[in-house]
């Protein structure tokens, strides 16, 4: 009998506020170490935290986006542990009264099925600093710029049953937080980090012992880490062993995972309500204002793409998945005047090219306006689809706007029928045997044999003849 896999996720989402959660320090990456760590962030005695209004607002907005209850009096607590990148000796977080209660997120699987993943809760908390182990000759360097960065930790129910579902959920969550503008969503900067809880069992059995693989920062690593852990657990159990509840670390470069030495007291955090902070109130008026300001959510956008642009559900789902892709697609569709062509180019040629060069759509060398212009020229018959790819490549290489490229390279389809007619006449005159052969063929064979003349004409015009026009001309002339 096969194994059933049970997966739950904890996701840290970094909120894109200007300042930190409890201090007026600047929030940004790439600054010199410790230049954005205030006395509060350094845990200096006598300092007091003051909560950032925008962080609370963004957390509550997330709650509304997943149909969750918003806690009207959420409470900050202290999670106590000692680590050098946590100068206060505790992390200020939430436990019993988190700001966001139970909610749900719908995901769409590759086979078209839909599934609902329940959210247990989401809470506001501060990030820790960074420990740097390289370059300090046997010591560890501590940079506290990140200390106090506002995060929401989203905790799911164990509702996913394979790596694909977990990744679909993670992508959907990414789409939601970027769509409502609470997170920049840059995975390479750690804007979203995933902890994966995995256990396996025989169908019908109670839940198996779970392990937690921490700090995965890409969808691909997450998928691979889950598959690796499932295989490991199956091997252990089928060899008669037992799964030990533990925290594991996945190394994406070597595709291996190892157990973190678990200390006996690892989970004894002695939480208690933070005496420095009062409960955070959210009023009916606050919620009404948030609802009124709610940006378009991915599901609504998908429905709109199907309605406004007549896209298939599959196309609409792919294009609405990320805010950057959505905006790009709409830019192309509006500039080009053809949504279906826009969808095909964005998901086809452009996506393939971006993938090959590992570029994000927001860094695309071809802008939405340029791709729209290319599509407009395709649509009005200025260029053929074959030439369009050539123009796209030139545009990608930075040779200018499509119109300028078409002009400079003389790629316009031959629209002057007189000129084309002359070329066709020449071809017929110079290829008497083929013409004879064509005229003696039946209709089915003629269809094939006309290809020779089309080829000659395309060669003579360097691909610029309008295919429809050319075909018609040839048929008329050849009889």
């Amino acid at each position: 009998m096969s194994w059933e896999v049970v997966i739950g996720l904890e996701i840290h989402v970094q909120l894109n506020t200007v300042s930190k959660l409890f201090s007026g320090s600047k929030l940004s990456t790439g600054a010199e170490p410790n230049t954005q760590a205030s006395l509060v962030d350094l845990g200096m005695p006598g300092t007091l935290p003051v909560v950032n209004k925008e962080a609370v607002r963004k957390a509550a907005l997330f709650g509304l986006a997943i149909n969750a209850d918003i806690c009207r009096h959420s409470v900050f607590e202290r999670k106590n542990y000692f680590y050098p990148d946590l100068p206060k000796g505790y992390q200020t977080t939430q436990l019993a009264e988190p700001i966001v209660g139970a909610g749900e997120v719908e995901i769409q699987l590759e086979n078209g099925e839909k599934k609902t993943v329940r959210i247990h809760h989401a809470h506001l908390e501060e990030d820790a600093g960074k420990s740097l182990h390289e370059d300090f000759h046997g010591m560890t360097g501590i940079d506290l710029n990140r200390a106090g960065t506002p995060l929401i930790e989203v905790v799911t129910e164990p509702d996913m049953s394979n790596a694909e579902e977990a990744v679909a959920f993670a992508r959907k969550l990414h789409a939601i937080v970027t769509s409502i503008g609470i997170c920049d969503g840059d995975m390479s900067q750690g804007n979203m980090r995933f902890d994966v809880n995995v256990s396996i069992r025989k169908p019908g059995d109670p839940l198996g012992t779970r392990t937690e693989t921490k700090n995965l920062n890409s969808f691909r690593f997450m998928e691979r880490a889950i598959k690796l852990e499932v295989e490991r657990q199956i091997d252990v159990l089928e060899d008669g062993g037992e799964i030990v509840q533990e925290t594991r670390l996945y190394n994406g470069d070597t595709h291996t995972a190892r157990s973190m030495r678990s200390k006996e007291d690892a989970n004894d955090y002695r939480y208690f309500p933070c005496p420095d902070l009062l409960p955070v109130a959210i009023t009916d008026a606050d919620l009404e204002a948030l609802k009124a300001a709610m940006p378009e959510l991915p599901n609504a956008r998908k429905a709109r793409f199907m309605d406004d642009y007549q896209l298939s559900e599959y196309d609409a789902d792919l294009l609405s998945g990320s805010i950057a892709t959505s905006a790009f697609f709409e830019g192309v569709a509006n500039a080009g005047g053809d949504a279906k062509l826009a969808a095909n180019w964005v998901m086809g040629e452009l996506a393939a090219r971006l993938n090959a060069e590992e570029k994000d759509i927001s860094d695309s060398p071809v802008s939405a306006e340029q791709l729209g212009q290319l599509i407009a020229r395709l649509k009005d018959g200025t260029i053929s689809s074959k030439i369009a790819k050539q123009v796209f490549e030139a545009c990608w290489a930075g040779e200018g706007d499509p119109d300028a490229i078409i002009e400079a390279k003389g790629l316009k389809q031959m629209s002057d029928s007189g000129e084309l007619e002359k070329i066709v006449d020449d071809i017929i005159a110079n290829n008497a045997p083929q013409v004879e052969d064509y005229r003696n063929s039946d209709d089915a064979k003629k269809k094939k044999k006309i290809g020779f003349f089309v080829g000659q004409a395309m060669k003579a015009t360097q691909g610029k003849a309008n295919p429809q026009q050319l075909n018609q001309l040839l048929k008329e002339k050849l009889g």
Binding site: T17, V18, S19, S23, G24, S25, K26, E32, P33, N34, T35, Q36, A37, S38, L39, V40, L42, V50, V51, N52, K53, E54, A55, V56, H73, V75, N80, F82, Y83, P84, E97, S131, L132, H133, D135, F136, G138, M139, T140, G141, I142, D143, L144, L249, M260, D265, D268, R270, P273, L277, L278, P279, V280, A281
Partner: protein, 95 residues
């Protein structure tokens, strides 16, 4: 739950407090007294009492999302036991 010297040692370790063996028995007694008081509180009938997270009936004032803190790195690193390249230095921590 009764507190013995083993629990005292564990709690002290979690809080990074150094407790002399000699003081352990006395500390156990005092902690047990505190727990006995909590047990007594648990007897109270709170059926109609709403849970309270804070003794004051006020809520947290919130701050506008603005940068207001200056860079204090030099002062902070000056009073650190060790620093290098803008970082605090601590004994090597390995996960």
């Amino acid at each position: 739950m009764a507190i013995d010297s083993k629990v005292v040692a564990q709690v002290a370790h979690l809080a990074r407090l150094k407790v002399d063996e000699a003081d352990s028995a006395a500390l156990s007694d005092r902690l047990n007294d505190i727990l006995a008081m909590v047990d007594q509180l648990q007897q109270a009938d709170v059926t109609d009492v709403a849970p309270m997270a804070h003794p004051l009936d006020v809520t947290q004032p919130l701050r506008e999302d603005e940068v207001s803190e200056p860079n204090v790195r030099d002062k902070a690193l000056d009073i650190a036991p060790a620093a290098e390249d803008g970082c605090f230095l601590v004994p090597r921590v390995i996960e």
